[in-house]
């Protein structure tokens, strides 16, 4: 059985960008359907785990122009500057929206308290009204509630979108699976907004959740959208690998700075001194991650594949003052549960995939290269972040893009006629999705996913080089040729079949991983988050974007030069 839903706008993904887009569409009195892989607000959307950063220029002397300049400098001049300006000028309004919905930010003397994060000219980041608390909880409190309050939004919980319906030029909706019943849902929409987030789950160790498998990237690519910036993946330098009770927590990074921690490798060497004789253990995020990745690759990693972070050098009465201060901190309590005392034991930390810069090519109206398809948030790249992301810029971009994308999608939905369903294509998508379900034997999806994650974690971390990338690509090709046709779902139940969802994710992961690896192989320089050991320098001729398209079922790579309407890179001034 197949359920057909006809709507004006379809939003895929229920994180901050998706929710903001759905709200905006609903405000424009256009019917909207929000399809989410889990239950909205009770899923693994990255925004609920957000830390403290939310950048917006509110008060002079700070200005949007300054914010744009900081963003471009952090992005190593690879940003699409027009886009950065178009999105960032909306961010002061996004704060008003959040406050209107009930989010509370710290205020003092009638002004919002703004703190300085690395890379900002003026203090610009909002903070929670409880000192030291992360803002993720604040968003989870207010955003899902807005979805429930807007009756115009039809929410499809637990609906996994398999593929977009597209003729190569126009997108007219999507085909999904209702995980709860195992039935297909065909959603016909005049405009479709992608808000599926990143692909951090392509790595073994990530601060995000394991369901972010790059589904939006995969389906947009297969539908024929142009993708860009796929080689840039941000790693958080110091997330906890051990003890288990704090696995993946990013608090050690704060501890490192507060307590001046020291890194050790497996042979007890203070290896950071070797890489960075001046900064030592306090190098930049990228430098730190890169050194740890190198140590792990050369076989000097810690027991769980990272580095040791020790505070043992501190005198006991000094560290006790800190510990007394942090008595109620959940991280410290979890350490206590595990029986680890940081006065004696070292933590194990490692760089964890944190954010991806790559996604669909978008313009300042959040339109992708396909008509009827919009992309917002992490999946809508447009090179807004360039080669590196300014800390605290992710969520303002999501909110601003959600607003703009929602408005534009609603506007175009009002102007277009309802699309006709392309039945043959829908049939083909459904049939393909059912193939692993019908296969009697083969390889189970989680094995394939494990292989792919290991591959990405080996070859696509900060320390990349040509040989490894080519080896990785060969391995990916083998998975595509040998494992994909053997993929099978061993559980044949229809209701809530997790394995089927995993099987459908595999194809998205494959496409995304291949795009990412090929783009990394193509960019022969080191810039921001893309670090090649065989090309360790920034190269001027690579002030270009790597654009990925699809022609006759194959990936096609082109480059496009970056333009500088606002901020010019220092070297081009001289010439």
């Amino acid at each position: 059985m197949r359920e057909t839903i006809v709507t004006d706008v379809l939003v895929i993904g229920g994180g901050i960008a998706g929710i903001r887009a759905a709200l905006e569409v609903s405000e424009q009195n256009v019917s909207v359907v929000l399809a989410n892989k889990g239950q909205v607000g009770k899923d693994g959307a990255a925004v609920w785990m957000a830390g403290g950063g939310y950048q917006t220029a509110l008060y002079p002397p700070d200005s949007v122009e300054q914010h744009v300049e900081d963003t471009i400098k952090a992005g190593k001049y690879l940003n699409n500057q027009k886009l950065v300006h178009a999105f960032l000028k909306e961010t002061p309004n996004t704060i008003k929206d959040l406050v209107k919905w009930g989010a509370r930010f710290a205020k003092k003397d009638g002004k919002y308290v703004q703190i300085r994060l690395p890379g900002e000219t003026h203090p610009r980041s909002m903070s929670h009204s409880i000192i030291g608390e992360s803002l993720g909880g604040e968003y989870r409190k207010v955003l899902p509630r807005q979805i429930r309050l807007h009756e115009g939004i039809k929410t499809l919980h637990d609906t996994f979108i398999v593929d977009l319906i597209s003729d190569g030029k126009t997108v007219t909706g999507a085909v999904g699976v209702d995980v709860r019943t195992g039935e297909f849902r065909v959603i016909q929409a005049k405009s479709t907004i992608l808000a599926t987030g990143g692909f951090m789950a392509l790595f073994d160790f990530t601060t995000a959740n394991p369901t972010l498998t790059g589904d939006g990237h995969g389906m947009a690519y297969r539908a024929g959208a142009r993708m860009m910036g796929m080689e840039f993946i941000q790693f958080f330098p110091a997330a906890a690998l051990w003890p288990h009770t704090v696995y993946r927590d990013n608090y050690p990074y704060t501890l490192l700075w507060r307590l001046r921690g020291i890194f050790y490798n497996a042979i007890g060497e203070r290896f950071m001194e070797r890489y960075y004789p001046v900064e030592k253990d306090f190098a930049t995020r990228e430098a730190m991650s890169r050194a740890i990745h190198r140590e792990v690759k050369e076989g000097r990693g810690s027991a769980h594949g990272g580095a040791y972070l020790s505070f043992r050098h501190l005198p006991r009465n000094l560290i006790n003052i800190f510990l007394e201060e942090l008595k109620d901190n959940p991280f410290m309590q979890s350490l206590k549960d595990a029986g680890v005392d940081i006065r004696e034991d070292a933590l194990e930390i490692g760089p964890a995939a944190h954010y991806v810069q790559g996604g669909c090519w978008v313009n300042e109206r959040c339109e992708t290269s396909l008509s009827g398809l919009y992309a917002v948030g992490e999946v809508g790249s447009g090179a807004k972040d360039g080669a590196d992301r300014l800390a605290g810029n992710a969520l303002p971009f999501c909110m601003a893009m959600g607003y703009i994308g929602g408005k534009e999608a609603a506007k175009s939905a009002k102007a277009t006629a309802a699309p006709k369903a392309n039945k043959t294509q829908v049939d083909a998508v459904c049939a393909e999705a059912l193939v692993p379900m019908e296969r009697k034997e083969g390889k189970r999806p989680f094995h394939v996913k494990k292989e792919m994650r290991a591959l990405m974690s080996r070859h696509m971390v900060y320390d990349r080089n040509k040989d490894e990338l080519e080896k990785g690509l060969k391995e990916l090709e083998r998975i595509r040729q040998e494992e994909l046709p053997r993929l099978y779902v061993s559980a044949k139940t229809k209701r809530f079949n997790l394995e089927w969802v995993e099987a459908l994710e595999v194809r998205n992961m494959l496409d995304t991983a291949e795009m990412s690896m090929r783009a990394a192989l193509m960019r022969e320089e080191s810039r921001g988050l893309h670090q090649r050991s065989d090309f360790p320098e920034e190269r001027k001729e690579w002030l270009r974007q790597v654009i990925i398209g699809r022609r006759q079922g194959k990936m096609e790579f082109t480059t496009e030069p970056v333009t500088f309407p606002y901020v010019k890179p220092p070297s081009s001034k001289r010439s």
Binding site: K42, A45, R140, T211, R495, F496
Partner: protein
Amino acid sequence: MIKSKDGKAHVRVFRFDPGVDKKPRYESYSVPLQGSVLDALRFIYEEYDPSLSFRFGCSGPTYERCGACSVLVNGQPALSCKRLLEEGMTVDPHPKFELIKDLAVDLDREKKQREKQSTSSVRIFVDPERCTACRDCVLLCPVKVLDIQKVNGRGRAVAADPGSCCGLTCRQCATFCPNSAIRLQTVRKRGK
């Protein structure tokens, strides 16, 4: 953590597919004694029975943000990503919500009738002096334990359904209360 000799733990898991099975059953699995209950469920899914259904979101163990993985462990609600695995645990779906399959529930639809009241692992105290009835805790609680009610002519947060509380595995209400009005206290088991 109770350690068994061979580093294995036995877990009993509630299994019921309303579309196929006539009545619910429990199945016992032997899993490695390490990590959280969610890790054990994941292990069962990978090694024994891929048809096991369960929910997970942010997949903790230190985020505890989404509350999707809330289940009943040994009769007490807990977040499975956070609760450490012990020998001889029984895992049931969270009793407050409509069942979809096995441990997966519809977190938006509450059961009309609750057969049995589960026991909470904590007592919830709300300081009436500090509470400003701002509804933060009501909105944050993944299983809707707290509610704003009128007490002595003044609105304040009340633990309306303490039996559903995931206790110290979640404690989002206490963490995010802007006035630090909520306090959770572990209930001591009798005889132990």
